[in-house]
C-alpha cells in the first residue's frame, strides 16, 4: 500500500513536470480566428474604442446577464440569511 502511494505520487509529479516542460508557449493561442475578428471589427461594429467592453456587453452579453444573475442570487442569499426572525 505504501509503495502504491509513492508510485501514484511519482506518476503525478512526473505528469506535472512533463506538462511544465512541454507547455504551450504563453500568449500563442492555437486558434486565433475569434481574437483576430474582435480586434479587426469590434471598433467598427460596436462603435466603441474599448474592445473589452464591446465583448462584455455586446458579443458576450449572455455572460454578463449570467453575472448579473449571480450577483442577484448572492444578494438574495445574504438577505435570506440575515433576515430578522420574529416568533
Amino acid at each position: 500500500m505504501r509503495w502504491l502511494k509513492v508510485g501514484a505520487l511519482l506518476v503525478v509529479v512526473g505528469f506535472l513536470l512533463g506538462a511544465a516542460a512541454w507547455m504551450h508557449p504563453f500568449g500563442l493561442p492555437w486558434a486565433s480566428d475569434m481574437d483576430d475578428y474582435f480586434i479587426a471589427n469590434a471598433q467598427g461594429e460596436a462603435a466603441a474604442n474599448n474592445v473589452v467592453t464591446s465583448v462584455v456587453f455586446d458579443y458576450r452579453g449572455f455572460d454578463t446577464l449570467g453575472e448579473a444573475t449571480v450577483l442577484l442570487c448572492a444578494v438574495v442569499g445574504v438577505a435570506l440569511m440575515l433576515r430578522r426572525i420574529t416568533r
Binding site: A47, N49, V56, A68, A79
Partner: protein, 149 residues
C-alpha cells in the same frame, strides 16, 4: 467613530461617488465599467456603514431595491432592443442617434458619445451592482442588533 473620522468621511464620500460615476460613465472608453464602478460606489456605502452606522441607511432600503429592479429591467430591455437580429444586438451603434457616433479605428480619441447601447448597459449594470453590493453591506451592518462603532 470619532469626529476626525466622521469629518474625513464627509469629505471623502463625495469623491468616491464621483470617481465611481466616472468609471461607470467612461466604461466604453477606459478600463472599468459597470461592475467596477458599482463596486467603487459600494465601497462608499461601506465607508458610511463603518463610520455612521448602518441604522442611518436603513430607510434607504426601498431606494436600493428600486435601483436593483431598474438596473435589471433596463439591462433586459436594452438586450431585447436588438431581438430583430439577435439578443444583445447593438442597435444604436453607429446609427447617429443616442451614443451613435462612429469611432475611427485605432487609438482611442475618447469620444463619449459613442458605443451604442454599451454606455446604457454600463449604467444598468452599474445600478445593479451599486444596489446589490450596497444592500449586502447594509444588511451585514444591520446584522447583530446594536452596532458597536
Amino acid at each position: 467613530m470619532s469626529v476626525v473620522v466622521r469629518t474625513i468621511a464627509r469629505i471623502i464620500v463625495p469623491m468616491i461617488l464621483a470617481f465611481g460615476g466616472y468609471v461607470i460613465m467612461h466604461g466604453h472608453l477606459t478600463p472599468g465599467g459597470g461592475f467596477q464602478g458599482g463596486a467603487v460606489v459600494a465601497s462608499a456605502v461601506a465607508l458610511i456603514v463603518v463610520v455612521f452606522g448602518a441604522e442611518r441607511l436603513k430607510r434607504r432600503k426601498t431606494l436600493l431595491s428600486l435601483l436593483e429592479d431598474l438596473g435589471a429591467i433596463a439591462f433586459i430591455a436594452l438586450a431585447f432592443l436588438g431581438i430583430g437580429v439577435t439578443f444583445f444586438r447593438n442597435v444604436l451603434a453607429g446609427g447617429g442617434g443616442l451614443f451613435g457616433v462612429p469611432v475611427p479605428p485605432g487609438p482611442n480619441p475618447g469620444f463619449l458619445d459613442t458605443g451604442g447601447t454599451l454606455p446604457l448597459m454600463n449604467w444598468a449594470v452599474g445600478l445593479k451592482v451599486i444596489a446589490g453590493l450596497g444592500s449586502v453591506v447594509v444588511l451585514f451592518g444591520l446584522f447583530g442588533g446594536k452596532d458597536d462603532r
